[in-house]
């Protein structure tokens, strides 16, 4: 059976040949789905989809953990119900041009059963990674595929590390914010290692797109969790400098502002007292454009006891319309400005103002 399997792996497999016509399946009686007499959300299945699933039900019910069962799960996964054209699948070479080979979105039990078969057959899991890779590229938002990949990589252990990092890198080069790919990558780093170049990778992605919030998030993940970097406090100084620079070049970019705040997580005292934080706010305020995030951060600083110098008061003063006198309470004045310039969130700023602790 193993050689059969290999043959199947290597040859070009015509998907059009009905399972009922294949001699190797002649002993199996397909089991139709029982939707009941009057089902709702009834799907008009294409014939090959229906047939493959009928055979799948048969082997699944029989718990047949065999090479042909493995092959059948492969066919089920590769079935392309949305785009029904007779095509051949070049197994082993499956690049993005072959983008029509889309798998159905879930098929959870197909994947689950496939794992049981892989285990029972002691199958080559590196090949399995390649197979999943082909599918994931066109279905990169499918939970099942990533879950399956995680299972395979876990089985392979550290021998899969670089492959997994390369793979997620490839997916992220197509969609730099793919949630599943990031999640998988974080799992790889934590479970299998490979932290060494991760900060550089974040750096590279942020150079390509400084607005990529996923890359900022990954950066935070690395500086807080990498075993090589010494943790948040050790990294803070250099990270603050990097972030301040990013803010100064794009003050409208929310990501570094949130990152900056994150660098002082659980250390409000340092945040309030670090002149680098307040001064970046002041600089952006003085530039008088794209200053919503600067105002917002200054408001938070004040709420936590930051003592503003006259410079801050003047900067806010300059942003206040001439007619309205500035509130003597700087935090309130900031809320007033935000209510005016950030209209989408006007109610929020009114609420923030209402929540301010009165000046003693």
């Amino acid at each position: 059976m193993d050689s059969d399997k290999e043959q199947l792996e290597q040859e070009t497999l015509p998907l059009s040949l009905s399972l009922s016509l294949r001699p190797e399946w002649s002993d199996v009686k397909p089991i139709p789905q029982d939707d009941g007499p009057n089902p709702v959300v009834e799907i008009a299945y294409k014939q090959d989809f229906r047939e493959t699933m009928d055979y799948f039900r048969a082997i699944y019910s029989a718990k047949e953990l065999s090479p042909r069962a493995l092959q059948l799960t492969r066919e089920a996964i590769l079935l392309n119900p949305g785009n029904y054209t007779i095509k051949t699948l070049k197994i082993g070479k499956c690049d993005s041009e072959n983008g029509e080979a889309v798998t159905p979105k879930t098929f959870m039990n197909v994947w689950h059963f496939r794992r049981q078969i892989l285990e029972a057959l002691d199958a080559n899991l590196l090949e399995e990674l390649d197979f999943v890779g082909c599918i994931a590229k066109d279905n990169s938002k499918n939970y099942q595929i990533w879950h399956h990949r995680r299972w395979v990589a876990q089985k392979l252990g550290t021998s899969a590390t670089s492959k997994e990092l390369d793979f997620t890198r490839k997916i992220l080069s197509l969609d730099a914010k793919n949630y599943h790919a990031w999640s998988h990558r974080q799992w790889v780093l934590q479970a299998l290692g490979g932290w060494e170049d991760e900060l550089d990778y974040c750096q590279q992605l942020l150079e390509e797109d400084i607005y990529n919030n996923s890359a900022w998030n990954q950066r935070y993940f690395v500086i807080t969790r990498s075993p090589f970097l010494g943790g948040l406090e050790a990294m803070r100084d250099s990270e603050v400098s990097y972030t301040v620079e990013a803010i100064m070049s794009n003050p409208d970019n929310e990501s570094p502002w949130r990152y900056l705040r994150g660098l002082y997580k659980n250390d409000t005292e340092s945040w309030i007292n670090d002149p680098k934080v307040s001064s970046v706010c002041l600089k952006v305020l003085n530039a008088k454009s794209n200053h919503v995030f600067a105002l917002s951060m200054l408001l938070d600083l004040l709420c936590h006891g930051f003592q503003p110098s006259q410079d801050f008061r003047e900067a806010i003063d300059a942003l206040t319309s001439d007619s309205a006198p500035i509130d003597s309470d700087l935090a309130k004045a900031i809320c007033d400005v935000l209510q005016r310039v950030d209209m989408m969130r006007a109610n929020y700023w009114i609420w923030r103002k209402s929540k301010l602790t009165p000046v003693a």
């Binding site: 139709p32 029982d34 939707d35 009941g36 009057n38 089902p39 709702v40 959300v41 799907i43 299945y45 294409k46 039900r57 048969a58 699944y60 019910s61 029989a62 718990k63 119900p81 949305g82 029904y84 889309v102 159905p104 979105k105 879930t106 959870m108 689950h112 939970y143 879950h147 914010k177 949630y179 999640s183 974080q186 934590q190 390509e208 797109d209 400084i210 990529n212 919030n213 996923s214 998030n217 993940f221 969790r225 100064m248 794009n250 970019n253 990501s255 949130r258 709420c303 936590h304 989408m344 969130r345 109610n347 929020y348 009114i350 609420w351 923030r352 209402s354 929540k355 602790t357 009165p358």
Partner: protein, 489 residues
């Protein structure tokens, strides 16, 4: 100040979407008032037609959703309920029958019918059937999954009849949920499946709806959710991941249900969510991502949750005074002293709302009692807190939903240039309902005319924001399951 001259991918995509949205709004302002009224009108008839068609029959392209059929049921039925309609008795029976076929022999619901008809010949060929009911020779070949379980339960509650509610095997459901519970406290999506915040929400939501939530199910799930709140303020799917609208809703709703919401940094969470509403008026799912109509519910619903189940937003906007309503950014309130299992959601279903302590009241605030009272969603206070404006821009969001997410031919969608689907129809309408009722002081009141954008016919049914089922269906189900004890498991 240096400015970067190169346009990044994020900026390019954002500007394309902004142009599309701007164009929609410009068209709107340029047409005569009569056309404007039409554009701003919820096309109820067309939506109904689209929904009913899908409930009957779906085209071959839906094979991709083959393992999500309970979801399609829920998206469609909930949308219909939001429109104030219901399906006829025959269709209701068919739905109950179909979903019963998805219910697993060990509890929970799979993505499709799990039973196949067996004749004896087939039966004997297969030497080792996994499960067999000897009388009918049935084998269950689908695996129950928490997400489809949540969808099926919500669909059945939306149908609402006794027959529908009785079709849920609560005893086995409890067993299934216990089976999905990981020793860490979090939940897995399915047997050997992934652990994430979605799994926690769907498990706790289902247990709470069915009145089978107990200490064992609750234990440590709060720790997991807490570990998923990120430095940005929102909640991620797993620890370390990026803050995300869907998971933020799921995480917050879970924490409310288990009565541990004050462990979250709510100030940071709110600050993160308000910034997800973009210039388009709609919400994005993550920072620097594109607007998408479905986040009208996932992000908009966060405000409904906090407004109704937490007094952090419960006070009058303009109110402040010594000793009350202090703004704690980094010092969330201590965990409530009382555990939820002693209150409303206990498994014996005997406690009444009168037993409830006022869990979510921040220290010192005297004027905004806000108990977790799921029976009186929307009822906030007797202190005349009328016209509390929501913290997000409700009108801007409604405008986005009606003009940019609505397919006039029926169905709703992500954004201009996208096509409609049942998922977006469900969550855009849910978000629209959240907007329309976001001013309300109590659930019995009708929304203020100015809270509803467009003609009054746009008004949808109110939802229960934790479970996202229409409110009166929630009440009926809640009463039903409060009466009946959990079957022994």
């Amino acid at each position: 100040m240096e400015s970067s001259s190169r346009i990044t991918v994020t900026q390019r995509e954002q500007s394309m979407v902004m142009n599309d949205v701007k164009m929609m709004y410009e068209i709107y302002t340029s047409v005569p008032p009569k056309t404007q009224r039409l554009m701003m009108e919820l096309q109820r008839d067309n939506h109904m037609e689209y929904l009913l068609r899908g409930l009957q029959q779906l085209g071959p392209s839906f094979c991709v959703l083959d393992a999500n059929r309970p979801w399609i049921c829920y998206w469609i039925l909930h949308s219909i309920a939001l429109l104030g309609q219901s399906v006829d008795a025959a269709l209701e029976d068919r739905t109950i029958d179909f979903l019963s076929r998805c219910q697993g022999p060990d509890g929970g619901y799979a993505g499709g019918p799990g039973q196949a008809n067996f004749n004896c010949e087939t039966f004997f060929y297969f030497h080792a059937p996994q499960r067999c009911c000897s009388t009918a020779l049935f084998i269950f070949y689908q695996m129950p999954h928490l997400a489809t379980t949540y969808a099926a339960v919500n669909a059945l509650i939306t149908l609402g009849s006794d027959k529908s509610l009785l079709s849920i095997d609560r005893g086995k459901m409890y067993t299934f949920l216990k089976h999905m519970k990981d020793p860490s406290g979090a939940f897995r999506m399915h047997d050997e499946g992934e652990i994430d915040v979605r799994a926690c929400y769907t498990a706790i939501s289902v247990a709470s709806m069915l009145n089978i939530l107990d200490d064992d199910l609750v234990r440590n799930v709060g720790n997991y959710i807490l570990s998923c709140q990120t430095y940005e303020g929102g909640i991620a799917g797993e620890p370390g991941s990026e803050a995300h609208g869907g998971y933020t809703f799921c995480g917050l709703a879970t924490m409310i249900l288990i009565n541990e919401v004050n462990r979250l940094d709510l100030a940071a969470l709110i600050d993160w969510v308000v910034f997800r509403q973009g210039v388009e008026g709609g919400f994005q799912g993550r920072a620097n991502k594109l607007v998408d109509g479905c986040y009208s519910f996932w992000q908009g619903g966060v405000f409904a949750l906090l407004q109704r189940f937490h007094s952090i937003i419960g006070e009058r906007l303009t109110q402040s005074g010594p000793g009350e309503a202090e703004y704690h950014i980094d010092s969330p309130e201590p965990t409530p002293e009382s555990d939820i299992s002693e209150g409303k959601e206990s498994s014996d279903g005997t406690s009444s709302e009168g037993d409830e302590a006022c869990h979510f009241q921040p220290g010192g605030s005297q004027n905004a009692p806000c108990p977790v009272n799921f029976d009186n969603v929307g009822f906030v206070s007797s202190e005349g807190l009328a016209e509390r404006e929501p913290l997000f821009h409700s009108i801007a969001l409604q405008r986005y939903i009606l003009l940019c997410s609505q397919d006039p031919g029926g169905g709703l969608k992500d954004k201009p240039r996208k096509s409609r689907d049942y998922y977006h129809t469900c969550y855009c309408l849910s978000g629209l309902s959240v907007c329309q009722y976001s001013w309300l002081k109590d659930e019995d009141a009708s929304p203020l005319p100015r809270a509803v954008l467009g003609p009054h016919s746009n008004l949808l049914e109110p939802i229960h924001p934790i479970f996202n089922v229409v409110l009166d269906r929630y009440h009926e189900a809640h009463e039903f399951f409060s009466r009946s004890l959990r079957k022994s498991s």
